[in-house]
């Protein structure tokens, strides 16, 4: 079912989403991938403050290609989420409500999604040119030295994603693949 949702993601909206929902996100999200997650983890371990308050926010696992002149961003599709599995549960426990990436999550992440009433969305991998058209503004807000891996604040308009893991523990990758399996 198609849904139009604003981000940051309210507790209510996050809990209402179900695996298989096709969702258009509008508002503010943040990017972070491998190196930024490692640095955030180190900050938390040292008792420091994260550059972004996790509460009700959505992280997009993405490192863009450079923007051409006059554009907010270059190609901007999702990266493989499982590389962030090691870091995600701690961020979810701090209030992170949504993650956008591609590929399967670990059981620990799925448990943290259920525990915190959060959601994991997939964006279409390898569609970075198309997805860049739903990003209207991009600004590096932390870890500038990490280049493409810096944390960016993105303003998105009707950014298309699909709910994979919801707060009830459903997993679209498992159910959808089973539905089309013809191995008999």
């Amino acid at each position: 079912m198609d849904k139009y949702i604003s981000v940051p993601l309210s507790d209510e909206d996050a809990r209402s989403l179900r695996a298989g929902d096709y969702v258009y996100l509008t508002g503010t999200i943040y990017t972070a991938r491998d190196a930024a997650h490692k640095r955030m983890q180190e900050t938390l371990e040292a008792g420091g403050k994260l550059p972004v308050d996790m509460k009700n926010n959505v992280i997009y696992y993405m490192g863009p290609s450079p923007a051409r002149e006059g554009r907010p961003i270059g190609s901007a599709g999702p990266t493989t989420a499982s590389r962030m599995d090691k870091y995600a549960p701690a961020l979810l426990d701090l209030g992170l409500k949504g993650m956008i990436g591609k590929g399967k999550r670990s059981q620990a992440v799925k448990d943290a999604i259920v525990r915190n009433g959060a959601v994991y969305f997939a964006a279409v991998g390898g569609a970075g040119a198309l997805l860049s058209k739903a990003i209207v503004k991009s600004e590096v807000i932390a870890y500038d030295d990490l280049g493409t891996e810096a944390i960016r604040r993105l303003e998105v308009e009707n950014f298309p994603v699909i709910v994979v893991n919801d707060c009830q523990g459903n997993d679209l990758y498992e159910t959808a693949i089973r539905a089309y399996n013809r191995e008999g």
Partner: protein, 280 residues
Amino acid sequence: MRTIDVSEITKNIKEMCIEANHFLSEDMEKVLDRAAEQEESPLGRQILEQLQENRKIAGEDMIPICQDTGMAVIFLEAGQEVHFVGGDLEAAVNEGVRQGYQEGFLRKSVVKDPIQRENTGDNTPAVLHCRIVPGDQVKITVAPKGFGSENMSRVFMLKPADGIEGVKNAILTAVKDAGPNACPPMVVGVGIGGTFEKCALMAKHALTRPVDQRSETPYVREMEEELLAKINASGIGPGGLGGSVTALAVNIETYPTHIAGLPVAVNICCHVNRHSTREL
């Protein structure tokens, strides 16, 4: 003896890095268009249609097809009658990559050291595979490789007793484990035989063969067709969200091997299977 200035190599590699990241080869375009018609799942069809729209935008607005513009893998076949002048050939190749990734607004995804992980800032060095061949031509293939699918690739050192069934099982295992992570529909490059490193190199090279061209060896061709059907029966589908099109092709290369071994490498590539070839 033919003389080629290495600045020619730099110029061509620069252009090919940009070209490969914005335009897929004709065989890839065709097979992806066909997949959008054949896919059984409505969501799968929608994803394949988005990928068509994505490639259109990439070409028209010069935005890379995928933000992971890859590590530049380069196959260079130099005729033995060619004399390269004007500098170091490998440095000229890397200069082409540096210029291509900078001028083409491509992402710089290479770190200098695998453990210390500081970005080199210009996507160099490339991974260069050179071969000396008869003649006075130079053939260059630039194949930028994204790591979503590279990470799901495998090498299996099977035993001769495992035979053809063991090889098929290894390939199917690698593909199923890759699942949604490798951005299906994927292209599966396979190397069978040789040594540990030779089979991996064949698997990579197999990805540059047109997806509509089957092996000339009858039993290999049969294997390619059988495996493609089996992979597409897995249900993984476009984006891993269920469907009947999981792979676009299985391309297999073989080589003689040792009496004690049966190496198999599976190099998985996403639907953005990029390669650009030129002959100088």
